[in-house]
Point group: C2
Chain length 517, copies 2
């Protein structure tokens, strides 16, 4: 290789795991978040935009996910005082810091929403980025489950506001206290942290592994198809049975884990919903399973209250259901947990139909602020997976925010630039997105290619001949593209996709094309 004579050129690349968002992608996401923000505002939630950078001390050493290594953040050391700073990895840890810092100035309870990027220092993979958006709503400073119920109802409203129809989503609610009660009664006290951790993660995999897979993880362990072995919690058959009874208490049948063992849990939604027991039945089963555990009974009572609050506002089981199979991976939840799933079918990478799945999750976490102040501050909230919800809207054709390409005014005669600009100005003054082609005008074909790349619906053309006669050529590019695919020679010859019009009719004729599209 030849020796480098000067510094090599820098590579024009996003860092691994990062990406750029262009035009319509930005507009679609913004439109979706704007609609969600409107709903949150309506419920009395206030916007909060906290600093993207936090002290590592304030963020805490560990990411909340039990499974994640503690190097999950992007961090660096300050030059002057040696403090470590880091990019926020979610919007909840900063909320805890903000509330602790500003609690004397904030109302209590404090309802806030936040939308913005978060960063994770993880191995990037397909569809797995190290910067992504989160969209959270939380209520800090009240232990009332009315706050949890409100979050669930607001989430339902938000999903409908962005275009997910009723029937295409379901919000599942569970309570960590009920699970804790069941574990207690099953002889797994709080101190059995390792076993409880394995149990939580096993239940979280119910969707994927089915009841028998979870049963194996609760017991000795599980060998997957590749032969890899995952160690289990080592519970007895009776212990496992009680836990599986809890997990399947929302299913049809006896709710003892046996009935559900042979059927797919995430089967066709309509069919399953029809067969599912009502809230009262599920709650009665849970009350039985928690036996004389005070924690468990409290959890069941909270779930009943949430179901009642939701029902009273008309949010029935077609939107919000009690579902004991929802545990949420995060260790910090202390009470109610929520998960929103989209229930419409999509085709997975192997061509099999499956439900779209989870787009939001959350729950009650009463200990996050305590780290800072020493005082327990009850809080509850929800986080919407922005990219997943956006992907769902795209599949449903409901994005709406798409920025239409501008009308492109082409340049036939460089010396008459001001006149072309005047046409664009006239269109803009009428509220029509318009621009003048500003590349080299020599090759007219390039101008039309440019208009195509811009997604322009219309091109405006005026040579000196047209200028002298006070007219313009208006080219309907969408229609032209359609004709190019389907038109007969006669239709093509008529060239209805391009016509001449007096300059004074420019706005009216262009608008007619745009209104048709």
């Amino acid at each position: 290789m030849a020796k480098q004579k000067k510094a090599p050129r820098p590579k024009a690349e996003t860092p691994k795991g990062f990406r750029d968002y262009f035009g319509a992608d930005v507009a679609e996401r913004k439109a979706m978040l704007d609609r969600i923000a409107e709903v949150y505002q309506l419920y009395g939630f206030d916007a909060l935009e906290s600093s993207a950078v936090e002290t590592v001390e304030a963020l805490g050493k560990f990411l909340p996910d039990v499974d994640r290594p503690n190097e999950g953040v992007f961090a660096w050391q300050e030059d002057d005082d040696g403090d470590w700073l880091a990019l926020r990895y979610d919007l909840t840890a900063p909320l805890a810091r903000v509330y602790a810092q500003h609690r004397n100035d904030l109302p209590t309870p404090y309802r806030r929403f936040a939308m913005g990027p978060v960063w994770r220092n993880e191995k990037p993979g397909p569809g797995r980025f190290r910067q992504f958006y989160q969209c959270d709503a939380d209520t800090v400073g009240t232990a009332s489950v009315a706050a949890d119920a409100e979050i669930c109802m607001m989430l339902a409203d938000a999903l409908e506001a962005v275009g997910i129809e009723r029937g295409d989503y379901i919000i599942r609610v569970n309570n960590r206290k009920v699970l804790n009660g069941v574990l207690e009664v099953a002889g797994l006290p709080e101190e059995a942290e390792r076993e409880r951790g394995i149990v939580l993660r096993a239940i979280d995999k119910l969707d994927r592994l089915g009841v028998e897979g979870v049963r194996a993880l609760l017991g000795e362990g599980r060998k997957d198809e590749s032969g890899d072995f995952t160690a289990g919690a080592g519970l007895s058959v009776e212990q496992s049975q009680r836990i599986l009874g809890f997990v399947t208490a929302g299913e049809a049948g006896l709710g003892d884990g046996m009935a559900a063992a042979t059927e797919e849990v995430t089967d066709f939604p309509g069919a399953v919903a029809a067969a599912k027991p009502d809230a009262a039945t599920v709650l009665a089963r849970l009350a039985e399973l928690v036996g004389d555990s005070a924690t468990g009974a409290e959890g069941v009572s909270e779930l009943r209250q949430i179901a009642d609050y939701c029902a009273a506002q008309g949010y029935g089981p077609d939107r919000i259901v009690i579902d004991p199979s929802v545990v949420r991976g995060l260790g910090y939840y202390t009470g109610p947990v929520f998960e929103a799933e989209l229930t419409f079918e999509i085709t997975d990478e192997k061509g099999r139909p499956r439900q779209f799945g989870s787009v939001a999750g959350g729950g009650r976490y009463d200990d996050l602020v305590k780290r800072f102040t020493g005082q327990a501050v009850p809080a509850t909230g929800i986080s919407i997976g922005v990219d997943r919800l956006l992907a769902a809207l795209r599949m449903k054709g409901r994005t709406g925010g798409e920025a239409r390409g501008p009308v492109v005014v082409t340049v036939m005669d460089r010396d008459r630039m001001s006149e072309y600009q005047a046409m664009a100005t006239t269109l803009r003054n009428a509220g029509i997105r318009a621009e003048v082609y500003l590349g080299n005008p020599k090759n007219f074909g390039n101008q039309l290619k440019y208009a195509d790349k811009r997604g322009a619906p219309v091109a405006v053309i005026q040579g000196s001949d047209e200028a002298a006669r006070g007219v313009v050529q208006i080219k309907d590019l969408d229609l032209g593209a359609k004709l190019a695919q389907t038109a007969t020679l006669e239709e093509w010859k008529d060239q209805p996709a391009q016509f001449e019009a007096p300059v004074g009719e420019l706005v009216a004729r262009v608008r007619a094309i745009l209104d048709r599209g």
Copy 2:
């Protein structure tokens, strides 16, 4: 001091130089940026949201500002491959990287706008933060000054769209080539980098130091009031005279620097504007000053073209003017440079009236993409100082985006929570922002204090007695606050700020109060 028995609590603090934005602050900025985005969209500019993190290689080692140390970025090293990553310090360097990376997929010219936070690793100070918003619009891939003119006109539209009235702002346009021509003729060739740097920075301080201060910096140097000495460029009297002639060519009088020497350059705007020469006179003076410099002549011709383009679309000197005193600090500008100033008066910290000053700046930079591709790609753009513009709108009372506090439904009887929630639901279904008080309801005074902290316009109250009669108490909090300040005892006794209404009239009665406010 007592020994620490366990790890101390983390401090609940934003890192030094960072801050959080709450409620109305977020809403106001969003409303402003939304309006600017609408204008940019209308002009055919597409949104771009590039990654917040870049490789240090792509960003370049140095910040573009000559005065700034090269440690101006927040950077860290990747664990796996040792690559250095950094937070973007502006939106222009990422644009260059994006364009170089995606140029085959992007239209040329590429018009894009970007809005978002940038980060600077600088010593924080009062009002000087290490994370702040920028709002940029750039056109990449065309050398046509029609693009520069378009940027200026679009900026004028954007300022008016957010609420800055015509007459309250002026966009000043200059051309770096004219300055370079003048320097050439004055005997300061491109190679005299040090001297040229000093000259640029000296001119940039004209506002603050006046003509004589600049003259000192062009010559031997300048001693400020504190006695500190700043070394000058060491130019001769003749050289300085030519440069000052250029800088003051937009002023009344002979444009030789002498006439302007005794008057305040940033005097009362209306008066100065009346006395200022028209564009043709300024251009003639500049043409004389650049003598036979080809670069200088090109610059004058470009300025003439921009003035013509703007005038043709009706953007006269009341909005866009040629002003040779604008140089912009950044070394990378290669042609036209722009600066938007707000000309209305404010009172400075010493109580003296002065103009609000610059809120946006930009210009043509033709070499940024070349770093990556080896090919020169002409580009031009503008950056709006988001915080400064927002501050100006606040002073003018034109923010508009302020989120009104919600109607607060108070809780008299905890057992009837669902009924209070139903009132909030009813109000929200009518589009009225509303929430139920979810703190401890025992102390009713706390509920009213909460409503006050929320900026609630109305509180809704229903005890069991009212519930039995099917009525609610509606408390007009704004009126109440007003009465508390001004009412006579009689007025106060009438309590018109609180009244009873049938539950069925809740929406209508609340709306009447909101519509009045």
